[in-house]
Subunit: 290 residues, 2 copies
């Protein structure tokens, strides 16, 4: 991989900050400039050595950048793309870390103009429920997957640069069709987030909420961990991928209805089959994932 | 607390085995006898020093026991109670660790006969997704809650013995009405288990299941951890508490329907309110739980 002399991170949170830290640790980057709307977050990023300088939406920041990572919530992507499009240098490669890809690509087609061929849509499948620069760490992407969903006209050199950068972060890079990516993530990530938020909301709105929470234990804690995720980010993801997510919610509702019927008719065999099948599938997954 | 000279554990798995280990570590028990239908599990329990001897459903095992803990799946409770009722000594106290209480109490009323007043219904709110004697450890109950749901006629000495034993395991003991217990646990434990099993089942039955699992990450892993729980045990719990569980599933289905409508109409504000509210409620809970 070519060394990245100048990296610009727009949105220096968990995702963007960890990308910068990982590349620094790997010696794969020269200078990192951070751009963000939260002044105190940018200050933290500077103090923590995640970025070397604070930039702005101007030509000085973007004109000579080798790589720009857009790590803002999906809902801010359009405005950011529109702002940076006229500022990008002729060789600047742009990538993103958005959790949905079809919508980001649609925005890029409209907003990035001449830079579209140097835009490499990406999604690192990593994260914690924490957000902000202070939660960033260099190891976040180690042994994790990053999905790239290049377009037909994506420049091979731009693709290679982005792929190489993620690999230097310790990630394995895969390519998927944008639509395929969104369907997969709706099932294994977006749906679980919705389910976890909904469960916490249900308990919190219960008339004996305080008592209920007082008896919630480790199972509840782990099940709902993702309900501590960034609400604005997840609102945007859910809306951006609502077609695939609605399909998964529909399937899930129907499944829950089948469980309800099993319980109503006291069908021990069907419940056993469902629970055993799920346990076995999870066991196989954990084994394969090793 | 009176020292327990002889403790009998029926069902030496995670729950029963950890109770024995915790009492041994606290020096609160003399001899521990284990009874179970799995010969290899009982052998493990002996080898691991969880029990000192293997017992059987006979007078030698139960006649001189100070305390008997029934730590079998709820579905086996009836048969176990029926078998031991005529074997219990005149001072033997019996307790259970069943995750549902109304049904266990109904069984005890029918099966325990003269020993009913020395039966203290209990539920330690602790556990992991693992099962079997090998998963037992002395610290399982430390700083956890144990709920006792004594009956009107429960002998105060029996209650004190059981309360003291759990306290020696490091747990905090609370008393609830059986119905109250079952409603609380349906909301914060039984429903999440059903939701986790259902999600894994949904992914596993997907036409691209293998691909889906390959992109599942940490959020999915934690959300579904409880779907690795013992299927037979959870089938029994769900059936035993089906009335309260059905009420919670009904509420949850309605909530999911509301989320579906928010997505359909692209209602960012409502999604934000739901997600933010849930995150804040979870944050308060974690803070209060400390």
């Amino acid at each position: 991989m070519e060394r990245i002399e100048k990296l610009v991170i727009v949105g220096v949170g968990l995702i963007g900050g960890s990308f910068a830290l990982a590349l620094k640790e790997a010696g794969a980057v020269g200078r990192v400039v951070g751009v963000g709307r939260g002044a105190s977050n940018i200050r933290s990023a500077l103090e923590l050595g995640i970025i070397d300088a604070a930039g702005a939406l101007d030509g000085t920041t973007f004109g000579d950048a080798d790589l720009v990572l857009l790590a803002v919530p999906v809902g801010q992507m359009r405005a950011v793309m529109r702002s940076i499009a006229p500022l990008l240098g002729a060789r600047t490669v742009v990538t993103d870390a958005g959790s949905t890809k079809q919508d980001v690509i649609a925005l890029a087609r409209r907003e990035l103009k001449g830079a579209l061929s140097r835009f490499v849509p990406g999604h690192p499948i990593a994260g914690t429920e924490k957000s902000g620069a202070e939660s960033a760490f260099a190891g976040l992407y180690r042994e994790r997957r990053v999905v790239l969903t290049p377009l037909e006209g994506t420049d091979p050199g731009a693709l290679a640069l982005v792929r190489g950068a993620w690999e230097r972060c310790g990630a394995s890079v895969f390519q998927l069709q944008p639509r395929e990516h969104d369907a997969v993530l709706a099932a294994v990530s977006h749906l679980p987030h919705v389910l976890a938020y909904a469960l916490v909301d249900q308990v919190a709105r219960h008339k004996s909420a305080k008592q209920l929470f007082s008896y919630a234990a480790g199972g509840f804690r782990d099940f709902t961990r993702i309900a501590s995720s960034h609400p604005e980010m997840w609102r945007d993801i859910c809306l951006a991928n609502r077609k695939a997510l609605l399909a998964e919610i529909g399937r899930y509702g129907a499944k829950l209805d089948r469980v309800r019927k099993m319980l109503e008719r006291g069908d021990a065999r069907a419940l056993d089959a469902l629970f055993s099948g799920a346990r076995d599938a999870r066991k196989r997954w954990l084994k394969d994932a090793q």
